[in-house]
Symmetry: C2
Subunit: 323 residues, 2 copies
């Protein structure tokens, strides 16, 4: 089973067909970066159209069992998530509403301070806010996973401890391997995993050792080392694949509507756009390379299966509840 727990492609029939060619059984897709509730609903409407148009390729995933159904039918199950709590605005009642509409992951912050927690680009991290505590409890109640990929360390550790259900870092790597603002310290990874949570390894070049030049061997050895240190059952993939997106999209991700000036995030003035992907992971047909790479660093078949999708499948089973 292959599950990629974070993608934000410029979706098209071409990409849906590549998902099938790559035997990707499920993906968690970002459907909101800075969108408010009504804008997020428009994005769900767009996905509803795609589900109608491409029933032979994709299906809406709501619970883990939908992946079994998708495998049976030769489809990819698509689960929705937000990289920001902007879709719930300032209204805790929207947590249940977005869950009913299919949301299964929600980041409490995207780089900046939010109403709920502190993002990883703020200079001060004040932890989970008053509203944040209420929203985590509500997310736990309805079965919407807390995702802290873009959050600051203290906020993340507090969220892992406050949440009564395991949380996730859907797309990041250990900072000990590749120091980067978005990669995670050992303390953060420990807090998430020791509470039953998951870490999804990112293939976004800014999160890789050597960026675009990162080797498959280095990436896979990092996975093996992380498994040795934190337990293989807590690890999966969250590629952060942004296939076919124009550079205007990475600017939207970084700046949204919160600033009138440019913010380069992990990029720079001279490299403002999406960085090129490593040549061994360009699109959804390349998961076989990672599977092979994991074998070459000594993982056995059961371990490889756990990383490639088995662990996310178990986590989905425990985390998602039907409305």
């Amino acid at each position: 089973m292959r599950i990629d727990n974070l993608q934000y492609a410029n979706w098209s029939e071409t990409i849906f067909r590549q998902l099938r060619e790559g035997n990707v059984d499920a993906i968690h897709v970002t459907i909101a970066y800075h969108e408010n509730f009504r804008e997020t609903v428009l994005n769900i409407e767009q996905w509803n159209r795609w589900f109608e148009q491409y029933p032979d390729l994709i299906t809406h995933g709501r619970v883990a069992a939908d992946i079994d159904r998708a495998i049976e039918a030769g489809q990819t199950a698509v689960f929705f998530g937000f990289q920001n709590p902007s879709p719930i605005e300032d209204d805790i009642g929207l947590v249940e509403i977005v869950h009913t509409l299919g949301a299964r992951f929600m980041q409490l912050t995207y780089n900046n301070q939010s109403l709920l927690a502190t993002g990883c680009y703020e200079s001060e991290d004040t932890g989970i806010t008053r509203m944040g505590r209420q929203v985590i409890a509500e997310m736990n109640r309805v079965g919407l996973v807390v995702d802290m990929s873009h959050s600051a360390d203290r906020s993340t550790i507090e969220a892992a401890d406050l949440s009564t259900r395991p949380i996730a870092i859907t797309h990041a790597n250990p900072a000990v391997w590749a120091p980067a603002r978005r990669n995670k310290s050992d303390d953060v990874i420990r807090a998430v995993t020791q509470n039953g949570g998951m870490l999804g390894f990112s293939l976004y070049p800014h999160h890789l050792l050597g960026k675009t030049e990162c080797t498959l061997q280095s990436f896979c050895q990092m996975i093996a080392d992380t498994a040795d240190r934190f337990g293989i059952e807590h690890l999966g993939l969250g590629s952060d694949l942004c296939q076919d997106q124009p550079d205007s999209v990475v600017e939207w991700m970084r700046v949204g509507r919160w600033s009138k000036t440019i913010d380069y995030g992990e990029g720079s003035a001279s490299a403002a756009g999406f960085p090129p992907m490593p040549d061994w992971f360009v699109d959804n047909r390349d998961f076989g390379n990672i599977e092979r790479g994991l074998g070459e660093v000594g993982m056995n078949a059961a371990e490889i299966a756990a990383i490639m999708g088995g662990n996310w499948y178990r986590f989905y089973t425990e985390s998602f509840t039907a409305p």
Copy 2:
């Protein structure tokens, strides 16, 4: 089994307890008169809170089988509906969204011309609009029932014919019994029922012969006569009970935000508020009176059971699909 297919009470624990005392197994509740999408979502949030607060009394109904589950648990299953298409605004994609959020009935108009059809208070009825045809097809696709209670005759007959699934008049009576703008001609009732649709008998005094003074015997004889003429399998109750609502609410129903001046609808300047209910149907504990009255006009047990809920249950089974 008792199903009341239209209520718009000022909901409270008192009324939820009366539903249980009256053995009402399911109700279809109006959750929007003139609300736009975002306002409708706020109303759903309020129902979500009630479902959390009173789990021993009520439960959210999505499919007919939820009524069986409610009976087992001693709850009343609550199904959502709109008396106006305002919640979908001008966006056909919202049809599937509101269905996912639980909407199961939607009127194409509320008295006035809408984007979809003509209401019963307009002087000209131009039938189903271009958008109306698209929306009926989409409602058929997702399993959202077309309700024409407040629509004009031509629009209603066209909707009954265009719809590939049976439609409903959830709350109105035959005009032949009580002439009133909101009651329905034989032609309209025939168009709806011969296409498999349902008529729910209203207990709103403006729809009754003699209004508040209407007798139980007259109401029940009218039901028996309608069964003889159009087939008992197409008939149920849609009481239009607006219990404990202040008169400001009937003004909201009639005027919404579409007029700066008052419109008395079925009322008048001297009787602008809610009319008093007949003494044999004041609240949800009074369904036993109707059951008794139907027996007194000669209906047998199977016929009474069909009217009191069996027919709506069958219609729910055929009309509602899970998202």
